[in-house]
Subunit: 493 residues, 2 copies
């Protein structure tokens, strides 16, 4: 199911599954610093960080090639295509679905973008930045922050830009700023074809309708159609004012009315509307004892919302502060909207985000984690949660639901945790059965089984099961058309 | 250059270039009301509105087929593919580049979306609407306005939704709300293949990364890859407060600093920043005498900006009004930004938009109009204008530049007007030479020759000249993959 070349390991290839003369050809392109090989004895393995996925174990790379320019990427791909070598593009390797690491055969090469990090060029008039695909999000945002701007994709991880585009990451402020797709004005991309064709869509225009918008097919497709080497990104002015509140809805049916009431009263000032289950918050407090519990008596509500409003301009003297605005708006909602609010706490935004950002780390310690990155129409998300609370215990008792999510955009991190000493974990079929059951129910609710992590080895089987044959056939045709070589860890066709 | 089938007109086909049994097959699908044929004598031609393009003359249709459902579209396309008939999809036929009308051969059929207008379904929780491709923008917005929402693409024309998606229209409030692409959450599309395959991407999810985002290839590609029959669109809350000002920049170099200063101080409240040349305004005042001239003594400045701020929520008592905000912000800019402003007038937004919206109509009466819909990086747009003001008179004397544009997104309606009695107009090569020269200079400035009107017969030659061969070959491959039948008025491959 996973695409990989079929080259057998043999004696001639030594520690790596690729013949020496081919490695020499790669080294001729990228130089000594640009090619990492497995050590003969296995000691001091420089390749390990490139072979290990954050969430789904490790593979074994035949080599890691680290081109320093888009032109080197082109030569590397042409060389690998000629030799029939499978290449796995890897950016920050912070993805959560195993789309950027090699399989276990030792025959796949990793093409790391980590040296494509030279360029960062702000065009203030165009409100855009030109950036190498290997630049880290944090470095880009430090560069931009000094100049009053930000690339407004708010994530827990610190990926590199190329991978963010290849996975079309979303994040916690999607509600206001959209996803990476919406903020990508241009890319340069190299195809895995005979020539290693470079395609330049770097005009950085905001309005341009001269045929197919080709960059779109490389966004969110996990690098199987080409390797992104450079990008032009929309940037936004840094927030200058913000206020946040923790909202306790009357019950879970009150969550969407609350969102609508806040959208109605705050408009584009509403920058986040994040949902947190009691279970997820409990995991965070258990794991990070220093985290302040903002609820009276420390008693966690069944569900809480982190709502944030912000403005990108300095507060004017005559302007109501955002704290006052939020307080007044919540009072109005309390009074006029049939009391969807049971409680609300306005506080320091950083403190509230500390809780929100501790959830990911917290749930990792809740036991064996079985995570899902799913999405629904916004009005369906809470229905799915409610159904799961009833159904899951019947089908899979003693599995904790520790979910949180981006209610404002319909995204849900539906995390399940199983006690580490649960005897069912010794049964290899248990977790796959659980995963299949949940994803079936997600699709019953017309949801997506990959909201913002794209397709990788870990959800390839769901892609295979839930994608119509016609779409797979179109995807295979698009692959032949763009990058007929062996590129990427997944198979969309 | 324009794709068309090669069927010769012959006696057997009567008034239309398509044999009677094929017309009968189409009638069997869509019924009497669904098929319009040319009248034998040519009198009372029902087809005329379907044959005539707003800007570029008329063609001759073999028939106009008007399916009422997506399934009928599928049957019609399968039938036409089987018979080798070229089909031109037509939505509101308000496009400006000749992408939705047949050529002069009388052998092409028009597939009108005008009966696909049944559906309008608002999902308030998801802030989205499901809509038939044949619904007019004005009807959609009336429906939405009653419920407090709008589809925020602000155009002078009144297209149908399918065509808006196929051309990826932009409009005057792109700066705040983006283009149609950004606001399209889903489409249903029918391919011109043997089966008339229907592809359903109608989940309406805001976050979904499960492979290729296929809808993207049908957006902005003038219907050559498939016929859009239905869509899920993002909707925004209606503006509840707005204020507008006419700004006179110190000189043209001050326009971008003004935009940046307003973005810095108004953030997402800035919903339009439109530029108007004195020539374009003069055309509007000449043509619409009732239009109030807001400038002191009626003296037109060389360039003016319409800046609009708006909010989607009701003004709160403690909130500064937008008029006050705009006044204070402009005073600040005056004081702190090196005086980019020569003058500014705050007034009723409707009055200011009346002027802005009268420009299109006004320039039509300035003489023989040679219009260009171009775009640049925002910082380059005014440089292009400045260069043209110097160069155009040298190469093409006595051609008036009557431009206006969406400075906030880099779009420029670069309109040229030539006196109707200019003897050069009798030379058929004159206007093509002028158009080629302008587009060459646009590309020298790294601009786009089609910002928001997409590709049609009238700019096909620019596509052919300025699109790299590799991109054309990819476009041809995509055509074979999706709609191998004869679909659409243009050729991207």
């Amino acid at each position: 199911m996973i695409k990989s070349n079929q080259r057998p390991l043999n004696d001639e290839t030594g520690a790596t599954g690729v013949p020496a003369e081919q490695l020499a050809a790669l080294k001729a392109i990228v130089g000594d610093k640009g090619l990492l090989l497995p050590s003969e004895g296995g000691a001091g393995n420089d390749l390990l960080p490139y072979e290990t996925c954050v969430r789904y174990g490790a593979g074994k790379a035949a080599f890691v090639v680290r081109p320093a320019t888009s032109s080197e990427v082109s030569q590397v791909l042409a060389c690998c295509v000629a030799q029939g070598i499978t290449v796995i593009p890897q950016s920050g390797n912070s993805g959560l679905v195993g789309a950027s690491t090699p399989d276990a055969t030792g025959t796949q090469g990793v093409l790391s973008l980590d040296r494509l990090s030279g360029t960062m060029e702000l065009d203030e008039d165009n409100r855009s930045v030109t950036v190498g695909a290997g630049v880290r999000l944090s470095d880009l945002n430090s560069f931009l922050a000094e100049r009053g701007y930000s690339f407004p994709i708010d994530l827990g991880a610190d990926p590199r830009i190329g991978g963010m585009i290849a996975t079309n990451t979303g994040g916690a402020r999607f509600l206001r700023y959209g996803d990476v797709r919406q903020n990508t004005l241009g890319i340069k991309v190299v195809l895995a074809d005979d020539q290693g064709t470079e395609l330049d869509f770097m005009s950085g225009l905001r309005k341009d309708n001269t045929g197919v918008d080709w960059k779109q097919i490389f966004i969110g497709t996990s690098g199987v159609y080409g390797v992104i080497t450079e990008a032009v990104l929309n940037v936004e002015r840094l927030p200058k004012q913000s206020a946040a509140a923790l909202l306790v809805p009357r019950d879970e049916a009150a969550v969407l009315p609350l969102l609508r009431a806040l959208e109605e009263r705050c408009g584009s000032q509403l920058t986040a509307f994040e949902g947190m289950s009691a279970e997820a918050m409990a995991c965070a407090f258990d794991h990070v004892p220093s985290l302040r519990n903002p609820f009276p008596g420390g008693e966690l509500p069944g569900y809480a919302i982190l709502a944030e409003v912000s403005r990108s301009w300095d507060k004017r003297e005559t302007e109501e502060s955002l704290d006052d605005l939020l307080e007044a708006v919540l009072a109005e909602i309390w009074e006029f909207e049939g009391e969807p609010l049971a409680n609300a706490f306005i506080g320091r935004p950083e403190e509230m985000w500390s809780l929100r950002h501790a959830l990911s780390e917290g749930v990792k310690h809740a036991g064996k984690l079985v995570p899902f990155d799913v999405s629904f129409r916004r009005g369906v998300l809470m229905d799915f949660r409610a159904a799961m609370a009833v159904e899951l215990p019947k089908h899979f008792p003693e599995v904790r639901i520790c979910d949180f999510g981006h209610i404002g955009d319909g995204g849900l991190h539906f995390n399940l945790a199983i006690a580490k000493d649960d005897p069912r974990l010794t049964d290899e079929s248990f977790i796959p059965a659980l995963r299949n059951w949940v994803v079936t129910r997600v699709t019953d609710f017309k949801g997506s089984f990959s909201a913002e992590h794209a397709i990788g080895r870990s959800n390839q089987s769901f892609y295979d099961s839930y994608t119509p044959e016609k779409i797979k056939s179109l995807a295979a045709g698009l692959k032949d058309l763009t990058s007929p070589g062996h590129l990427g860890a997944v198979k969309l066709g």
